[in-house]
């Protein structure tokens, strides 16, 4: 295999695929990136057996072929190359030579055949949507994914293709974020799958504001094709909890909040919550919220926020981190906080389709 291309092109491609490579693996081939020539350039593929990424970069091919090379090392070398012009060549023994300016590198690779092939998607259900839309929806939900590996079904985002919309749901059992996206779903294409957090992270990195993304749903895998890059991932098997039942049907009080102002106030007050008794009180009085926190061993903080509020006086406590997470990830200027009473879930909403349910804390001081 022999080709030549610009350093920047090569770097761009490696950047897209290298983050999938696992750092600790018992299978050396998984540390490698697969390079294959095609008609117009080369394909680069990496996988950790759960998630795989393939991208195309343009190159001038002089001799077709394929090889695999250690991805991180290759990336570090390419990044440091002195000249923009890169000559790449690999022999039958998978020894690759890289020439660039006055530099010369020889790297030992592994044969292409050892590289686990990415799954095929035949007879898959295909959906198309705008990248910007999905990117926005993932940003609004992915922070609520559970990192607790004992409840593996929660370690991903539920994607439900039903009733003319794609619903994305993430929860860790204490709060839940949900977004609905309008999507035309042909009959027989309804589906509900859980996409693991790692694939979501990769996808968020690859998503751009413009262009389209094609989602292909196989039996237990999913593929995303966008900007000429292919991302495939296994799905999390299992039953996602019935999230509908935790969403309150009604709200007694709706408080309109300026997102930035509220977020900043909460962040300031939360400086005085201790790591262990992580709670923050919202004290509602007429046209005012007091955001308060106290830790006996540190001190206390309070900030008043004028709001429109005409309901009865009451106090509710939340985990400040759970309260701030959606505020940080929403672009909207105005958010609504829907509450029922101090022991019922609170809901954060915006004017478009978004919903965040968070459970209050029972506090006793």
């Amino acid at each position: 295999m022999k080709f030549h291309l610009s350093k920047e092109k090569l770097l761009e491609g490696l950047q897209q695929v290298q983050s999938v490579v696992s750092t600790r693996t018992t299978l050396p081939i998984l540390s490698n990136v697969l390079l294959q020539t095609n008609g117009k350039g080369i394909n680069m593929t990496t996988t950790d057996l759960d998630v795989g990424v393939r991208c195309n970069i343009e190159a001038e091919i002089t001799e077709a072929g394929a090889t695999t090379l250690p991805a991180r090392r290759l990336f570090n070398i390419i990044r440091e190359l002195p000249s923009s012009d890169v000559q790449f060549e690999s022999d039958a023994k998978n020894v690759a030579s890289i020439h660039s300016g006055q530099s010369f590198f020889k790297i030992l690779g592994l044969p292409e055949e050892e590289f686990p092939p990415l799954p095929k998607f035949e007879g898959a259900k295909v959906y198309t949507l705008r990248q910007g839309q999905l990117k926005d929806a993932l940003k609004k939900t992915s922070y609520a994914i559970s990192t607790d590996e004992t409840r593996y079904v929660l370690n991903g985002i539920l994607c439900s293709f039903k009733e003319g919309k794609l619903t994305l749901v993430a929860t860790d059992g204490r709060r839940l974020a949900m977004v609905d996206l309008e999507l035309e779903i042909a009959p027989g294409k309804e589906a509900s799958v859980i996409i693991p957090a790692k694939a979501i992270n990769e996808l968020q990195r690859l998503l751009k504001d413009d262009g389209e993304i094609e989602i292909r749903l196989g039996e237990n895998q999913v593929a995303f094709e966008l900007n000429g890059t292919l991302l495939v991932s296994k799905l999390i098997e299992g039953n996602y909890p019935n999230y509908r039942q935790v969403i309150p049907n009604e709200a007694k009080e709706r408080i309109e909040l300026e997102r930035e102002t509220f977020l900043n106030a909460v962040r300031r007050v939360s400086l005085l919550t201790s790591e262990k008794s992580n709670s923050l009180k919202l004290i509602f009085t007429k046209n005012n919220i007091d955001i308060a926190a106290n830790s006996p061993e540190i001190g206390e903080a309070k900030e008043s926020l004028p709001v429109k509020y005409g309901g009865k006086d009451f106090t509710i406590a939340f985990n400040p981190e759970f309260l701030m997470a959606p505020l940080r990830n929403l672009p909207e200027d105005t958010v609504y906080l829907d509450l029922i009473d101090e022991m019922s879930p609170g809901v954060i909403k915006i004017n478009t389709s978004f919903l965040y349910v968070l459970m209050p804390m029972r506090i006793s001081y």
């Binding site: 990192t147 607790d148 004992t150 409840r151 929860t171 059992g173 204490r174 709060r175 839940l176 909890p241 019935n242 039942q245 935790v246 790591e275 262990k276 008794s277 992580n278 709670s279 006996p296 061993e297 406590a317 985990n319 022991m343 879930p345 349910v357 459970m359 209050p360 804390m361 029972r362 506090i363 006793s364 001081y365």
Partner: protein, 628 residues
């Protein structure tokens, strides 16, 4: 023909023997207990070939007349109880009236006894349950019982005996237990013609333990602080337990006696463990010689023929009393422990020669009143040319040591070179133990603080010490405030067995206080809808189950932070100073002072020791100055 037939007396005895006489050690136990019940002052036990060939127990007790001697070989004949009411309050070791006929039925048996006033004694020979000879004999006052060829007529049973060495070990353990339980009785044990031990009658239990287990084992013990009788069941706890940090790999060093009877009881074992709590590493067992005295009516010993098991009428209160006593003892032990640190090192002339140069650090009071004077360090020795050993400062001094420069620059001019004799600053007289001056010699490997106290060298693990300090601080802090609880989005159902469910139903409120929201749903199921915020990660149901198990074992009245302790231990581990963190002298002083102020300073929350004492004796042995 009738299918049911009455067993002959001998067969019935043999059946009963199966329960009472399991192995030679049980023969020894029954016979020695009889001797003790007979008021013996000296008990001699002789065994041959692991007790299989011979067990002979001779005592100087009150003996029996001929009628009694014959009667005692009948089943259910006993001098110890008379009516069923006596069973409710058994004060003697034996009472079932089974031991003698049982042993007699499975061995070649000889009983010789004489009452002190009687002219002649009685000798009875029994062979496999059949009385063969009854005659006069002339023995010393007391009783001698001999069982030879155990199980000679029960080959199946004999097959189940272990090797002679194993049986011997069991006999010895049994005798040790009995000897510990009765220090005022002289015990002699002769095995295969050799005296294994000969324990003089002593008045103090500790002397008996020392005689039996050696001085070193006895030094590791501390007397149990009995917090007064527990009113409810008049329980009195005495004996010795291992000091904090003393542990064994198994339970064999836990000797528990209830009303003088050695028992193995789960409640007591749990209470002991719970009392030690963080003073023991996981998988280690405490050392204990514990005596529980209680109203005989409050404990049922008639559970098992060998009486190894007992049942308490109120296990909860026994457990709580015992746990409290152990905890009190360990906390009291702290006072002695910290006193040994505050003892000023021995005067120069009595110290072994060639002591390393030392930094004398003044007590905290002195440093508060005159910070400048607080740090007078013995720099002189580092530069003394005629120092016997060429000591390299970096190896011994504090890590910041640069020989020519003042050790702690921030102390400025206050660094005054003094001789050791003048070391304690602020005018505190050297001899005053209350001055609280401990001597920090330096830090080894940026981890071990070397200190000197009256008995020698002390090594303190700075990480473990700091962990313990933070652990107690955080726990105190959290105890002061209520535990919050985070509601769950989706309540979970917990399904429990009837026993657990019953326990849980009665303990919903304490759990609520711990931040666990549980609601009874009936039929053994509970709804879990809230968890304390620090219980994150891990399957909630599994966590709650674990907590329920732990709390059940720990008994009620435990700290409601009990379930957060693992979390606290983990947190403080992160925040504590690590190995390789260079601590300045002032930080060291503070660390040690705080450590001494801890409830349980000797070990970190995981149970690893925070400090190790190397006595002068140990050092002298290592240097060959003293015979080991």
């Amino acid at each position: 023909m009738s299918r049911v037939a009455l067993l002959s007396e001998i067969v019935a005895s043999q059946v009963a023997a199966g329960e009472v006489v399991e192995r030679p050690a049980s023969v020894v136990k029954e016979l020695v207990e009889n001797s003790l019940d007979a008021g013996a002052r000296t008990i001699e036990t002789v065994t041959a070939r692991g007790g299989i060939a011979l067990v002979r127990v001779t005592d100087d007790g009150h003996g029996m007349d001929r009628d009694d001697a014959l009667l005692c070989l009948e089943r259910h004949a006993t001098s110890k109880i008379r009516t069923g009411a006596d069973l409710a309050a058994i004060a003697t070791l034996g009472f079932r009236g089974e031991a003698m006929p049982s042993i007699a039925s499975v061995s070649r048996f000889r009983l010789a006894t004489r009452e002190p006033g009687a002219l002649a004694g009685t000798e009875i020979l029994v062979n496999g349950g059949k009385i063969e000879t009854v005659r006069d004999c002339g023995d010393a006052p007391g009783t001698s019982v001999e069982a030879r060829a155990l199980f000679f007529n029960l080959p199946a049973r004999r097959k189940f005996l272990r090797s002679e060495a194993t049986e011997s070990a069991h006999v010895e353990t049994q005798l040790q237990m009995l000897a510990i339980a009765h220090p005022s009785v002289r015990f002699i044990y002769i095995r295969d013609g050799r005296t294994v031990f000969q324990l003089p009658a002593v008045t103090r239990l500790l002397d008996r333990i020392r005689d039996l287990c050696g001085a070193e084992a006895a030094d590791e013990l501390t007397p149990v602080e009995d917090g007064g009788r527990v009113a409810e069941n008049d329980l009195k706890i005495s004996g010795f337990i291992g000091k904090a940090g003393v542990s064994r790999g198994n339970r064999s060093s836990q000797r528990i006696f209830i009303n003088g009877r050695a028992v193995d009881n789960g409640v007591v074992n749990q209470a002991l463990r719970e009392g030690y709590h963080t003073a023991l590493m996981k998988g280690r067992y405490p050392v204990a010689y514990l005596f529980l005295e209680m109203d005989p009516a409050a404990v049922d010993v008639n559970v098992h023929p060998a009486k190894r098991e007992v049942r308490f009428r109120a296990p909860g209160s026994v457990r709580e009393a015992l746990t409290a006593a152990v905890r009190r003892t360990l906390e009291a032990g702290r006072a002695d422990w910290s006193r040994s640190f505050h003892q000023p090192p021995l005067p120069e002339q009595t110290r072994p020669a060639a002591m390393v140069p030392a930094l004398a650090v003044a007590d905290r009071a002195a440093s508060n009143s005159s910070p400048a004077a607080a740090a007078r360090f013995d720099r002189a020795d580092f530069s003394t040319p005629d120092l016997a050993l060429p000591v390299a400062p970096p190896a011994l001094g504090l890590p910041v040591a640069k020989p020519p420069a003042p050790l702690f620059p921030e102390e400025g001019a206050a660094v005054v070179s003094t001789r050791k004799e003048e070391a304690p600053a602020g005018g505190a007289p050297r001899g005053a133990a209350s001055a609280g001056a401990f001597k920090i010699l330096g830090v080894l490997g940026k981890l071990y603080v070397l200190m000197e106290n009256a008995s020698g060298l002390v090594l303190v693990d700075q990480h473990a010490a700091h962990e313990r300090i933070l652990f107690e601080e955080l726990r105190r802090r959290l105890e002061a405030q209520e535990v919050n609880s985070q509601k769950l989005l989706m309540p979970l159902t917990l399904q429990l067995g009837p026993k657990d469910a019953d326990w849980l139903r009665q303990n919903l409120e304490p759990l609520q206080k711990m931040g666990i929201g549980l609601e009874d749903f009936g039929a053994g199921s509970f709804k879990l809808d809230a968890l304390p915020p620090f219980l994150q990660g891990g399957e909630p149901l599994a966590l709650v189950r674990e907590i329920i198990d732990a709390l059940q074992a720990a008994g009620s009245g435990t700290s409601r932070l009990r379930l957060g302790e693992d979390m606290i231990a983990k947190t403080v581990c992160r925040h504590a100073v690590k190995a390789n963190d260079v601590l300045r002298e002032r930080e060291l002083v503070k660390l040690l002072e705080d450590l001494l102020a801890c409830e349980l300073p000797y070990c970190c929350p995981h149970g690893r020791p925070t400090m190790i004492q190397m006595s002068y004796g140990e050092l002298e042995r290592k240097f060959g100055r003293r015979a080991p």
